[in-house]
Symmetry: C2
Subunit: 341 residues, 2 copies
């Protein structure tokens, strides 16, 4: 395949095509501070301070529209960074907030975004401790973009969780319904009215994940990742590929809201390929699976959690369908919904 000379939208869509661009963007020699580095392409990276493992992560947020059913760019920004720390097992401590704002942006909207970020932080006990503001001329940005970076620590009794350590025998658990965020965004943009059910799941997951880790016991959550751009399909394929294992998913156990499934059918979009902003995917030691599931279900953000499959030897991800067949869940070339986070 001819190498692209220009960046295109698929390069930022969280799927297979993005990998090409990442080769350019991860060509740093100075890419590691003595822990997990840039080369790992995990949800965050690590280094050590005073004997403690510190996790660092960042995301820029360009979601359109900035206010949508179930959330806004501020809640997405804080949740995205909190969740990247949380899926690595780290308590979120301190976040940064850097905004680039287009001239003419309403200050009342800024106030709403700040209030929403603050509320989201409050849910998990994290803080925004430093920030930056740039303003650019009208026409050189459409509205606002928000970058958040975050620092978390692995606490006493906690444990570092990677996205690459699925083990044969693990139960695959998802913390709730899949596809809500992506289909809420695209349906809202298209002007569809699909009832109150169709709204983003955007939420900060630390408290739920903390409870799951405690229930699991040290190390029994083998791998975890949040299924953002490219959705569950991109997430589970990346996890399987990195671990060199196969994942078998049973279709009848995968939680998808009826409204999300309907919107997906209408728009020709697979709910498994679009972003979630308040979900995680885990590979859990089989003996701990029931305890972890119960802990997830006891938290509002995990009430629809389910065991949806397991890890076996081999490669790829297959879905056992309701009618007894089997099909691959392919890694998407890119999320079909642009500007989703």
């Amino acid at each position: 395949m001819k190498k692209d000379t220009e960046v295109n939208l698929m390069h930022g869509a969280g799927g297979e095509v993005m990998g090409e661009l990442l080769q350019t963007l991860t060509a740093f020699k100075n890419n590691n501070a003595g822990g997990i580095g840039l080369e790992s392409l995990d949800d965050g990276s690590t280094f050590t301070v005073g004997g403690k493992t510190v996790i660092l992560t960042t995301d820029s947020h360009v979601v359109k529209p900035i206010f949508f059913p179930g959330g806004d760019i501020g809640r997405v920004a804080v949740s995205g960074t909190v969740n990247d720390l949380s899926v690595m097992g780290a308590r979120p401590i301190a976040l940064t907030c850097a905004m680039i704002i287009e001239e003419g942006f309403p200050i009342a909207d800024l106030e709403k975004i700040v209030a929403s970020m603050d509320e989201t932080l409050g849910e998990v006990g994290a803080s925004i401790i430093t920030g930056d503001t740039k303003v650019v001329e009208k026409g050189s940005l459409d509205g606002i973009v928000v970058n958040t970076a975050g620092v978390g620590v692995i606490e006493e009794g906690g444990f570092l969780i990677r996205d690459r350590n699925l083990a044969v025998g693990d139960k695959i658990i998802v913390s709730g319904t899949l596809g809500d965020h992506g289909l809420a965004i695209v349906s809202y943009r298209e002007g569809f009215d699909l009832g109150d059910q169709l709204k983003s799941d955007v939420a900060p997951l630390w408290k739920m994940i903390e409870a799951a880790m405690k229930a699991a016991g040290n190390g029994n959550i083998h791998a975890m990742k949040d299924p953002t751009r490219g959705g569950f399909a991109a997430c589970i394929n990346e996890m399987a590929r990195k671990a060199g294992v196969k994942v078998v998913v049973r279709e009848d156990t995968v939680p998808i809201r009826e409204s999300v499934a309907s919107a997906g059918s209408l728009l020709g979009i697979d709910p498994l390929q679009v972003a979630n902003e308040g979900k995680c995917v885990m590979g859990v030691a089989p003996e701990a699976a029931e305890r972890v599931l119960a802990a997830l279900k006891s938290h509002p953000y995990g009430k629809n959690a389910a065991v949806i499959g397991e890890v076996v030897e081999g490669s790829g991800v297959v879905m056992q369908t309701r009618i007894g067949g089997e099909r691959f869940i392919e890694p998407p070339l890119g999320d079909p919904v642009p500007r989703v986070c």
Copy 2:
């Protein structure tokens, strides 16, 4: 004054007007993780891990053009974050890199930016350990923006430095010529040819500052800040105001390149009001000033360092002019050069 309802360019220009917007943007209740928090508006903030003080900072970079005499957006992004950590006395350890890229952006330019960032990191032994990439539709961003966040630590034998602790009797030291970056950018944009001398000073200062701290001895650099947006004038006024002191500067000791002074005259721009990207301003205990000056001068980025004034009781910043008069150095309403970093 009527409160603005929309964001305007002056809100992002690093001067007095920016303060109004910052009231909105710092209205977080969750703003502190047990150290220096958002409310301090210092170059970075702090929290404690394993008994060590960790510094966290962030900047988004929107400089236009992205390649300019003396540097590029990549060197600005790494230097900006490295310097925000360094002026607080922290060794830069780990940085994040989050890029938002416009569809159609040349991949060859991305490669140049990454190589430049990598070279800048290498100068100070820091690393980019995690990142994020978003791509947006053509027309919704002009080219690329780069966010970097950074984490540093106060080392054994080092000491935390704030921007607010100027003390009466302190010598004011600048690490080199003032106004280079801002006037290089604006002259280049305007198409002026003012010779090879007029180029950005953008540089990562940790090694120079580390040497100055060692020469000073524990705590003898009382206050430090990097004079970015709004230049030396904004920087020194903020330092004086936060400490409740007056600063007296002697005009004949302020290092300004002839080419920068010429360009400033031509364009009607005061070199003291535009951004520097490779300079710092210090308040140093008088008994340590000569040692610190010598240490700065021994580093290539500090070879034009100078003692330019001192701290006295009172308020404001005054310049003793060459002809024996005195005038205020006012805090600028905003940097006269937009999109400078």
